[in-house]
């Protein structure tokens, strides 16, 4: 179900807008394997009912029962000494989003930018959530080369090796999950979640999130963390109210 939220309207913003205005709300559902197909074949369930203005807010907290672990460097017997220390990855951040999203979610016209830094052999932030059509900058603010790449089907790219002070960028048009790595440093990894709507939030240091301007209706809210199984819950929000929904994620 959550997959649908990412894959529905998996098309460039221009096509999305045209489609949202004119097309029926009923579309078919396809498994993830089919997401490479052009956006007209992408899927969505029946949209939730929208009863009022965009004033409701969903907020809450995502609690991680076991703290997620850093990706360790691969143990190499060929090294001549201790591995240089690197920055800690903040794996506590989770992403909370609606699935499916309200219809109005697709009316955006801007072409946003986001940033995923490379510092002390770490991607910062470790989790980035963006809307489809976002261009993400990958500046190298480290002292060494990095080679950012992804082999994810949602977006396959390789930025090559570039030195400190330089930046390269990638545009993400297709909803889905993109796992990002560095070819040189095996312990560097990050996630980019690309949504076809704006109803998502990344949790703060304490796991809190807030999704604003949600139309009244009944939704499935999903909490995602790269190191934990996903959890989803149903919630009904009124047109002017505020709903609270907490999650507890733990390894099974």
């Amino acid at each position: 179900m959550v997959l649908m939220a990412l894959t529905q309207r998996a098309c460039p913003p221009k096509l999305q807008r045209r489609r949202v205005r004119g097309l029926t709300q009923r579309v078919r559902t396809l498994p993830l394997a089919a997401t490479g197909v052009v956006c007209f074949f992408c899927v969505s369930p029946v949209w939730p009912s929208v009863a009022g203005g965009f004033t409701a807010t969903i907020r809450g907290r995502v609690e991680l029962r076991q703290p997620p672990r850093d990706l360790d460097p691969r143990p190499s017997a060929a090294d001549l000494g201790m591995h240089a220390s690197h920055g800690a990855t903040d794996r506590r951040r989770s992403v909370v989003y609606l699935d499916p999203a309200p219809r109005a979610a697709f009316d955006s016209r801007d072409e946003p930018r986001a940033r995923m830094d490379q510092r002390n052999e770490t991607f910062v932030p470790h989790v980035l959530a963006v809307v489809a059509g976002t261009t993400v900058d990958f500046p190298n603010n480290d002292r060494t080369y990095h080679n950012v790449f992804s082999l994810s089907r949602t977006r396959t790219f390789d930025l090559g090796r570039y030195a400190a002070g330089r930046s390269k960028s990638v545009r993400f048009d297709k909803p889905g999950i993109v796992r990002v790595f560095c070819e040189i440093h095996s312990h560097m990894s990050a996630y980019i979640l690309v949504f076809s709507h704006r109803y998502f939030a990344v949790t703060d240091d304490e796991g809190r999130y807030r999704i604003a301007n949600v139309p009244a209706g009944t939704y499935t809210v999903v909490a995602w963390n790269g190191a934990m199984p996903t959890e989803s819950k149903q919630i009904t929000v009124s047109d002017t109210g505020e709903a609270t929904l907490d999650f507890v994620l733990e390894r099974r």
């Binding site: 997959l3 201790m82 080369y145 082999l151 396959t156 390789d158 090559g160 090796r161 889905g176």
Partner: protein, 388 residues
């Protein structure tokens, strides 16, 4: 609900090391299967273990146990061709001073000489074949020696199974300039800064013949200095000297040294990378009747390789490689000849990343040996390598 299928598409095999004891114990591994020409009668790619480097199956597990911050124990267990398990590496790593990038390692340790020897994992190497300096077997043996120049010239191009009148009466494989398949035993120290790396080692064997135990009472001294003048460029220089003749050989003294010097360079930028390395080695030979050139045999190997990533999943690579030998004069007064048959090797290949840690490779390698009956051979090879 969506996480698992999406994750499965992105990465359907484990991608990171196994973590135990709250991260103090980490296990990594590599499995590679290489399929090439079944019977290589030219023996161009034979290795120390009398195996064909282009037709192997290898499974290796590397463990790192770090009970405290400045102390670690490392070991790599390896199975080649589903035969016996060997400890390719087993050593302790210690950082004497907190905050100073100075490390000491003792045990079966990685080589400090050169650069290729520490690229022990398939993920670090763009091509399937090995550089000649690190794999090709010369006719010299540590347990059997030629009495004169004619004995040496008779074995030209037969390094995979040479025999000499002094020492072991049995035919056996010769020595490469540097072994890429065995590591030496001893103690090493390294100082590392962002721009400079200096390493020094005292070991039982030599770069040609790394050993678990000492077989001649002499130690090898080896060192390497590497600088990084700009990001992406690495320049290294190495030197080593150690006794190479085994105690079992009946010669007046085993104090005959292998002396080697090396230079290496690597430059990478964008989607391309170039590596080059040169190794010069001299073996002191206790000839009973020395040729006019003296009691020494030298060899020089040099190679350059490049890799270019044409897409996120696909790269192409190539290497040009040469191994030459000094000339000596036989008793027959014929013109001087290289003491072993010079070899050239060219290899081109491509790799496809199925996922981040699963690579499929293919390569075409052409070898040419001057001064031997079996003088030219091409090999088509495929490989699958997975690591975590």
């Amino acid at each position: 609900m969506f996480l698992l299928p999406v994750r499965a598409v992105a990465q359907w095999l484990p991608s990171g090391p196994v973590r135990l004891l709250d991260g103090r114990l980490r296990l990594g591994g590599e499995i590679s299967a290489t399929a090439g020409t079944p019977a290589d009668v030219t023996f161009f790619n034979y290795t120390d273990y009398e195996r064909n480097a282009l037709r192997t199956f290898r499974a290796a597990v590397t463990g790192l146990w770090q009970p405290v911050e400045r102390l670690a124990f490392l070991a790599e267990m390896r199975i080649d061709d589903a035969e016996s398990v060997t400890a390719a590496a087993a050593y302790v790593r210690f950082r004497p001073w907190r905050g100073r990038p100075f490390d000491v390692q003792a045990g079966r340790i990685p080589p400090v000489f050169g650069a290729f020897g520490r690229r022990a994992y398939q993920a670090d190497r763009p091509l399937i074949g090995y550089p000649l300096a690190y794999q090709y077997l010369t006719s010299l043996r540590s347990d059997a020696l030629p009495a004169g120049a004619d004995d040496l010239l008779r074995m030209r191009g037969r390094g995979w199974r040479s025999s000499f009148p002094v020492g072991s009466p049995y035919a056996g494989p010769g020595l490469p300039l540097i072994s890429a398949f065995k590591w030496d035993t001893g103690v090493q120290a390294r100082w590392l800064t962002p721009r400079l790396e200096a390493a020094f080692a005292v070991t039982n064997g030599t770069i040609s013949n790394p050993r678990l135990g000492d077989d001649n009472g002499g130690k090898q001294l080896a060192g390497r200095l590497a600088v990084t003048p700009v990001t992406g460029l690495l320049l290294g220089a190495s030197a080593s000297r150690g006794n190479w003749i085994a105690r079992a050989v009946p010669v007046a003294s085993t104090a005959h040294a292998q002396t080697a010097f090396g230079g290496d360079a690597e430059y990478s930028r964008g989607y391309g990378m170039i590596r080059a390395e040169m190794v010069w080695s001299r073996w002191d030979l206790p000839f009973l009747s020395p040729p006019p050139e003296g009691r020494q045999a030298t060899a020089l190997a040099a190679w350059i390789e490049g890799r270019y990533r044409v897409s996120p999943r696909v790269y192409i690579a190539g290497r040009a490689d040469r191994l030459g030998f000094s000339s000596i004069t036989g008793a027959s007064a014929a013109p001087p000849l290289p003491w072993d048959a010079p070899v050239r090797r060219y290899e081109v290949g491509a790799g496809y990343s199925v996922q981040r840690n699963l690579i499929l490779r293919g390569s075409l390698q052409v070898n040419q040996r001057n001064g031997s009956r079996l003088d030219r051979r091409a090999f088509l090879t495929a490989q699958a390598a997975w690591w975590f």
